[in-house]
């Protein structure tokens, strides 16, 4: 019973850290695709006195990825339906050139303002419409969710680290006598720390397997049955095979750090 408790005292905080890492990875992947969607759904309107190609626009600001000319004839047809052909021709001649411009990434509102200023520096550009208000609200919401989750993950990791440090004190108490005796008889570091390493690596493996199990369950069982659109759409992002290596790697790193800290802090025989 005591032994199970000792294992759980390390497995649970380690699992919390691994869950945090996995949440971070999943969130990063999900928000990446969401960000891509937001970016693709957004364009700004550039009004120019003359025709402008993509290279000319890119020269003004590197974030511009593509531009599409809006057919002036369609605008004229729309606004001058009842006018004569000659009047429509005159309007067409007087009408500036309109471009729908897409960006290479999902920028902040200040980023959009900078692009606007850069474009307006060119004398051929009359005005730029960024549609800032609707963009700003989705950007802020998106940034808020992203920040809150990251803060939560960092907070969870910190609490877990404190619990791991507490467990390291328990290890020190439980293993120091044996390690000190072994040191007196000339045992090398690896042999002295061997037992502790075995215990900690077993715990790391258990914590990784449980964490992987939770995310596999979420991916293959819960996500499809939840009916939540974002989960169903991003089911693939919920767990990837590479995550298993990342989680095991992180768990092993934590174990190495924790065990060596305990080993190096228990030098010499206590009289």
């Amino acid at each position: 019973m005591k032994s199970i408790k000792n294992h759980l005292m390390f497995i649970l905080p380690l699992m919390a850290i691994l869950l945090g890492i996995e949440f971070f990875l999943v969130f990063d992947r999900t928000t990446d695709s969401y960000e891509k969607g937001l970016k693709e759904g957004y364009s700004m309107l550039v009004v120019a006195n003359k025709t402008m190609d993509l290279a000319a626009l890119k020269k003004l600001n590197a974030h511009i990825e593509s531009s599409e000319s809006i057919k002036r004839e369609n605008i004229v047809t729309e606004i001058a339906q009842d006018m004569s052909q000659s009047s429509q021709d005159e309007i067409l001649q007087a009408l500036p050139y309109f471009y729908s411009v897409r960006l290479d990434s999902y920028l902040s509102t200040s980023g959009l303002e900078k692009i606007k200023k850069d474009l307006e520096k060119d004398e051929s550009i009359r005005s730029v419409e960024t549609f800032g208000s609707s963009y700003s609200s989705s950007y802020r919401l998106f940034s808020f969710i992203k920040l809150s989750l990251r803060v939560f993950i960092v907070f969870m990791a910190m609490i877990s680290l404190f619990l791991i440090i507490k467990q390291m004190e328990v290890w020190k108490y439980a293993h120091s006598e044996r390690m000190q005796i072994m040191e007196i008889f000339g045992a090398p570091l690896m042999l002295r720390s061997g037992v502790l390493f075995k215990v900690a690596l077993l715990d790391a493996l258990v914590a990784t397997v449980i964490t992987v199990g939770i995310f596999l369950y979420l991916k293959f069982y819960w996500a499809t049955r939840s009916g939540i659109d974002i989960m169903v759409q991003n089911q693939e992002s919920l767990f990837k095979m590479i995550d298993m290596a990342i989680l095991l790697g992180a768990a092993v790193m934590i174990v190495i750090f924790a065990v060596y800290t305990v080993v190096f802090s228990t030098k010499g025989v206590q009289e």
Binding site: E177, R178, I181, M182, I184, F185, G186, G268
Partner: protein
């Protein structure tokens, strides 16, 4: 015969040199010597022993054990030196979660001997210390005298060059004390093991020729 231990102008101190325990001591101990170190409580007997197994670095002077200058030895050199030593503590220092047999073979385990060799040696030594039937027990299941005999068996398991014993029979009954003295005498006589014993009094039944050092007023003096 060559010196196994040489101390010249040796000073040992705690608190970064502030609290001197032994000052300017010089002595040498040859291979196969049986040495008793006596002195009043707190005189520095155990401190000298600690320095001999490299747990305390000399503050001044030299202390050479098995050709290794302990004042300058790296941790790997110290580690190597300790594998040639058998150390016996007054409070036994056995690993309580290990069986008696595993405790006995600790030095062999560290040296990388096979399990078969370990088992054979453990059986032989436990027979010598009259604990064969306790091989699978844990130290806390044994009496103090029995635990100390396990400690002696552990110290002898790898035929060490030097045995350092700190009050090995301090609180033991006569039977256990006699078994321990016999074993150390045999090691010294048959294997030419150098034995250093820190004790309050030299046993009356002791039959081997021995050397006697007294630690007093921070000095180490040989009694002739």
């Amino acid at each position: 015969m060559s010196n196994v231990i040489t101390a010249s102008h040796l000073t040992l101190a705690y608190d970064k040199g502030k609290k001197e325990i032994i000052k300017d001591a010089s002595f040498s101990i040859k291979k196969g010597d049986f040495v008793f170190i006596t002195g009043p409580s707190g005189s520095g007997k155990s401190t000298l022993l600690k320095a001999l197994y490299g747990q305390l670095k000399p503050t001044e002077g030299n202390l050479v054990v098995g050709g290794i200058d302990l004042a300058r030895a790296s941790s790997s050199k110290l580690q190597e030196l300790r594998t040639h030593m058998g150390i016996i503590f007054q409070d036994y220092k056995l690993v309580n979660e290990w069986t008696v047999e595993k405790n006995v073979v600790l030095p062999l385990m560290i040296a990388g001997y096979s399990m078969d060799v370990q088992r054979t040696q453990a059986q032989r030594l436990l027979k010598h210390v009259k604990l064969s039937e306790h091989a699978e027990k844990y130290p806390l299941e044994l009496s103090g005298g029995e635990q100390q005999r396990v400690g002696v068996a552990r110290a002898l398991s790898k035929n060490p060059v030097v045995i350092l014993a700190d009050e090995p029979t301090g609180n033991l009954d006569e039977y256990s004390s006699n078994v321990i003295w016999d074993l150390m005498e045999n090691a010294c006589q048959q294997l030419e093991t150098t034995v250093l014993v820190v004790t309050h009094r030299i046993p009356s039944i002791f039959s081997l020729p021995y050397r006697h050092f007294i630690i007093e007023n921070k000095g180490v003096y040989e009694v002739h």
